[in-house]
């Protein structure tokens, strides 16, 4: 079977050729991109959130104020505005710093009208870099942006979870002579996760659904390709002309996202049972009595 002359093909062999065009391979790649983004962003957001929560509950104003400001400001700004504005600002901030370090002799202003001009050597990535470097850089910026946004929500969840650990647990730790730091590390942190989990699992689901925002960051994600491939194609511009097939492509996306959600639910369910073990919660109590559903 050869795909060189699709006009002569029909039925299944046409479909096979159609589904293996370079464009479709890009779609399949973008599925990987989305999964990779999720896999990297989730732990990084959690780290941002943990940092934010620890800072916000600090007794030192110098820590608690930035922590609280981070949580309040990032949660308050609409995602779309954040993604459109912040990424360009972040990119320019990096280039500005590099420019100051690498090209100290530069005598022209960086802002010229609406232009942002730094010396060639300070460009990030260098304009001579191959396209994949640009793409990896764009992806890294996307991960960072997602992590900052979702980190703020995670920080709020963890902040609440830390406070939800029963006071009796903390008091007991203090009675054993633990310092506040030890109490935090040995008692609060291990116990807080079960209180944080409902909030964090919500965030995970929202993160899964937020990945189409990637396209705003210039990354060609699955929704972009579904739209591009599904749009009506006239024979002049493709060997595989077809009408408006966006419904089918979006149906495939629906199945993909529902599948991802289902897998997430199963994993989170297991995690909940695991974290409930030995906890002073209803779930933990039920497990202790052996009445919990397995």
């Amino acid at each position: 079977m050869t795909c060189s002359d699709p006009d002569t093909l029909s039925g299944l062999s046409w479909l096979l050729c159609y589904l293996t065009t370079g464009k479709h391979l890009s779609l399949y790649w973008s599925v990987g991109t989305v999964l990779l983004l999720l896999a990297i962003t989730a732990p990084v957001s959690l780290a941002f959130g943990f940092g934010g929560a620890v800072a916000a509950r600090s007794r030192l104003p110098i820590l608690s104020w930035p922590g609280k400001a981070y949580i309040a400001i990032v949660r308050g700004v609409p995602d779309i505005a954040f993604f459109l504005f912040f990424v360009i600002a972040l990119d320019q901030a990096f280039e500005y710093v590099r420019h100051k370090v690498i090209c100290p002799d530069w005598d022209q202003p960086i802002r010229q009208g609406s232009d942002f001009v730094v010396c060639q050597a300070a460009k990030l990535p260098l304009s001579t870099a191959p396209q994949w470097v640009h793409e990896v850089y764009g992806f890294a910026i996307a991960v960072l942006t997602f992590a900052i946004v979702f980190g703020a929500f995670a920080a709020n969840v963890l902040f609440g979870a830390m406070r939800a650990v029963p006071r009796a647990q903390v008091e007991t730790a203090e009675a054993y002579g633990m310092t506040p730091g030890q109490t935090f590390r040995r008692v609060v942190v291990p116990q807080m996760w079960i209180y944080a989990l409902p909030g964090l699992s919500n965030l995970w689901m929202i993160l899964v659904k937020a990945t189409p925002l990637l396209f705003l960051l210039g990354i060609e994600d699955i929704v972009f390709w579904a739209r591009e491939l599904g749009g009506p194609k006239t024979p002049r511009f493709t060997d595989y002309p077809h009408g408006d097939w966006r419904m089918w492509y979006f149906l495939a996306l629906l199945v993909f996202y529902l599948g991802l959600t289902r897998v997430s639910e199963l994993a989170l369910g297991r995690l909940t049972r695991r974290l409930s073990r030995g906890q002073a919660t209803m779930g933990g109590e039920a497990q202790r009595k052996g009445t919990a559903p397995a």
Partner: protein, 240 residues
């Protein structure tokens, strides 16, 4: 497929090593046939692909194609993520305040309405157009029709086909293949909009702009540009 890509990237790397400053990144939308679109293998193709490659060859530059969403195509240019826009962008006064255009490489070409029915109401009906285009501005300024904006031209066409909008207003060159292949037809008079299509550069980047301007002039002088216009945009499209 992947091997081909990586060897092409390797070639590009070695080539760019020789002429370090001469890599020019060309930003396009990739969703506006016949000007620019993604072909079956996902590569940028169309009138502007061939034009841009030829201009780069004449200017002896290494060019790299980058696709970017139409909405953020100008902000990403001025912020330096690529060096030029070559995306069917009509030269207008508003845009010229932010970016520097070359001379036009297509003469001002008409915009047209396409609709499913011959008696579509262009005066007070709903007109679909792509966001941030001269056509959208035209409908908004006209004031009588209701403007329905879409992020890309395909969706504007789809809206007119599904009846969500009464008609779609877009560049006639873009609509010709659409009208040929679908049940839609042109309605009303063609409207001359914009000052032709040009490449856009950062205003601080006059050197590169002048280089491409010279290359465009040389293609106009030897008639190759007219051949390209006729080949891609059709016999009826105005030439130089």
């Amino acid at each position: 497929m992947k091997i081909m890509l990586s060897s092409a990237a390797l070639l590009a790397m070695t080539a760019s090593g020789a002429l370090a400053q001469d890599v020019v990144r060309l930003g396009t939308e990739g969703a506006y046939p016949p000007y620019n679109y993604l072909d079956d293998s996902g590569e940028v193709a169309g009138f502007e692909r061939e034009l841009g490659d030829e201009l780069c060859e004449r200017a002896e530059l290494n060019c790299e194609w980058v696709t970017n969403d139409w909405d953020s195509i100008i902000p990403n240019l001025v912020s330096g993520n690529y060096d030029a826009i070559i995306a069917g962008m009509s030269i207008t006064d508003e845009r010229a305040e932010v970016v520097a255009f070359t001379q036009a490489y297509t003469p001002p070409s008409p915009s047209a309405y396409a609709a499913m029915s011959e008696d579509a109401d262009l005066e007070s009906g709903v007109i679909a157009a792509q966001t941030g285009t001269i056509q959208a501005a035209h409908v908004a300024e006209g004031g009588t029709a209701t403007l329905l904006e879409f992020p890309n031209p395909d969706e504007a066409v789809a809206a007119a086909m599904s009846g969500e909008a009464d008609a779609v207003l877009a560049d006639k060159d873009f609509l010709i293949p659409v009208v040929d292949e679908t049940e839609m037809s042109f309605v009303g008079e063609d409207i001359p909009l914009g000052g032709g299509i040009g490449m856009a550069f950062r205003q601080s980047n006059t050197e590169l702009r002048d280089t491409f301007d010279t290359a465009i002039q040389s293609m106009k002088d030897d008639g190759t540009l007219n051949e390209l216009i006729t080949e891609y945009l059709g016999e009826d499209s105005p030439t130089w």
